[in-house]
């Protein structure tokens, strides 16, 4: 089975992030980049499926030049090879543009299954998996908390608010996973050493036959008009209870329409 796992490099979730005032995009240069956490679950699932059914796992990553940490982590975890799509024209792509670019890269590859995380911790649109499946004309098995492959068909548990749905489709298919699905492995030293020797193919937009008018800030359907930093929390009102504390508390709740 040939599996492609898609990963994104995101700014460290714990780091203080800021927006570039000119482009209104996240200033990625000022923080450490790492693999999107949810994508580690996708990599783990891809590796487990390949270990169980045999086959090969390719990681595909789209990002600015030098944003190599995400796919390297996947290689260290055990993925066989990497394809890195990077081109200045891709900068600022929204979810629609991103899904188009990724679909074009997938067009250059052979695969039975595409796996990715169900959302990225930076943009959090959570729609790339569905957009990608639509562009590829493949079944979309999103929000999977369990994946089973049987010959040419695939069955997942789709996590929902009320529990889960069981969804089945034929291969090839696009699967997005949630954190419940597995426990991602830590790379071993052997994996770290081996990753240095694994093949990495770097593509620019032209090599993936990407029409640059359909990607980047220019080709995006959505546009960020303005951005405001979340204001710091203001200090609450402190009421010293001099016998009327209860009344004041009830009044406060009433004015806020809690009671």
């Amino acid at each position: 089975m040939k599996i492609v796992v898609l990963v994104k490099q995101v700014p460290d979730t714990w780091a203080e992030k800021r927006l570039d005032p000119d482009t209104l995009t996240v200033d990625r240069a000022s923080v450490d980049g790492l693999i999107n956490e949810m994508d580690e679950f996708a990599v783990e699932e891809a590796l487990q499926l390949a270990e169980k059914h045999g086959g090969e796992v390719t990681v595909v990553c789209m990002g600015p030049e030098g944003a190599t940490d995400a796919y390297k982590k996947a290689l260290q975890m055990g993925v066989d090879k990497a394809v890195f799509l990077t081109d200045p024209a891709l900068a600022g792509s929204d979810a629609v543009g991103t899904s188009y670019a990724l679909a074009q890269v997938l067009g250059t590859l052979e695969y039975d299954l595409v796996i990715l995380g169900s959302e990225a911790s930076d943009a959090r649109t959570s729609i790339v998996p569905a957009l990608l499946a639509e562009r590829l004309g493949l079944p979309q098995l999103t929000f999977a908390s369990k994946v089973e492959v049987d010959g040419t068909s695939i069955k997942i548990n789709r996590q929902t608010d009320y529990g889960h749905d069981v969804v089945e489709a034929g291969l090839p298919a696009v699967v997005s996973v949630v954190e419940k699905i597995n426990e991602p492995r830590y790379p071993s030293f052997k994996g770290i050493m081996a990753a240095k020797k694994k093949p990495v193919q770097t593509l620019d937009a032209a090599a993936a036959a990407i029409d640059t008018a359909r990607v980047g800030a220019v080709g995006s359907w959505s546009k960020v008009l303005d951005a405001t930093v979340t204001p710091p929390r203001s200090k609450g009102t402190i009421v010293t209870d001099e016998g009327s504390g209860g009344v004041e508390l009830a009044d406060f709740l009433a004015t806020k329409k809690f009671v």
């Binding site: 492995r185 830590y186 071993s188 030293f189 052997k190 994996g191 240095k196």
Partner: protein, 389 residues
Amino acid sequence: MLDPQLPAEYEELRKTVEEFAHTEVSPVIGDYYERHAFPYPLVAAMGRMGLFGLPFPEQYGGMGGDYFALCLALEELARVDSSLAITLEAGVSLGAMPLYRFGTQEQKQRWLPDLCSGERLGAFGLTEPDGGSDAGATKTSARLESAGSGGSWVVNGSKSFITNSGTDITSLVTVTAVTGPQQEGRKEISSIVIPSGTPGFTVEPGYSKVGWCASDTHGLSFADCRVPEENLLGERGRGYAQFLRILDEGRIAIAALATGLAQGCVDESLRYARERAAFGRRIEQYQAIQFKIADMEARAHTARLAYRHAAALLIHGRPFKKQAAIAKLVASSAAMENAREATQIFGGYGFMNEFPVGRFYRDAKILEIGEGTSEVQRLLIARDLGLPA
């Protein structure tokens, strides 16, 4: 030594262990410590990461790394917890390393893969109730019966303070024993591998320890404990030289562990100084606190340089005995002083077991004792300088 940066693959390993220690170990280790329980799930996870196989070749199930890689992992673990770090140190450096260094091909094939995977643990029994640093005082004996034709060693005696010797996954203990009469003023000492569960081999109940409370330490006793003749490890009569070599290396590993503890004290003190306020200001603003933390950082840094230099000499096949002794001396002292100062910065909270610095304080002292006391390190340095024995 000229390149100030770690090679990329070592840095990746360091970051991976750092992440593991913070994500997996930090939230749960306090509870194991409190209960004096061995953290099997964490040891298994370390095994899956390949930490127990770090310095061994892939043909025995190892990671194809080296002793330096092991030291980095120990440092990062000990920044968060020393019990797990010593479990790894003893498992690799004392449990598996003697087999790798001195074992026959057959012994290596038989024992190493399980030890490298972390599915089983090995231990090394040198210290006895009446002799630690004075290894020549070894009283445990091994008598060879029916040599040559399915013969066996009959072991009698006892060992003290043996790490990893009594876990559910311990597969063997290598013990030093007197195997023959005194020659040239020294007893004939050999190393013998005793598999767990061998009749006559008793693991005594765990000690009540001041620190390292989530690690496994027992006294062992042997009463007519019989193992096959081929369980002799390395040459007969070479036991003394073997454990000297093992201890020399082990000192670098303990120095790495001590460096981690010293750095962990800096990490915790910085965090605490930034959130704790006293007399209307955060305590990080007081020079008294700043100077303490600066001294702590300087000690951790110096310790790190010392152990990394010794490890570099070791992996390049150069003499490292003195540098290993210096590293162990300096790093254990740094750990002890940093633990004391970190506890002081935490004030009353530092005396509470629920804060990591309390654990660090309890875990630091043993570093000046185990695998060669600080006095022994000074002796080794003095000998190397040509001072008389």
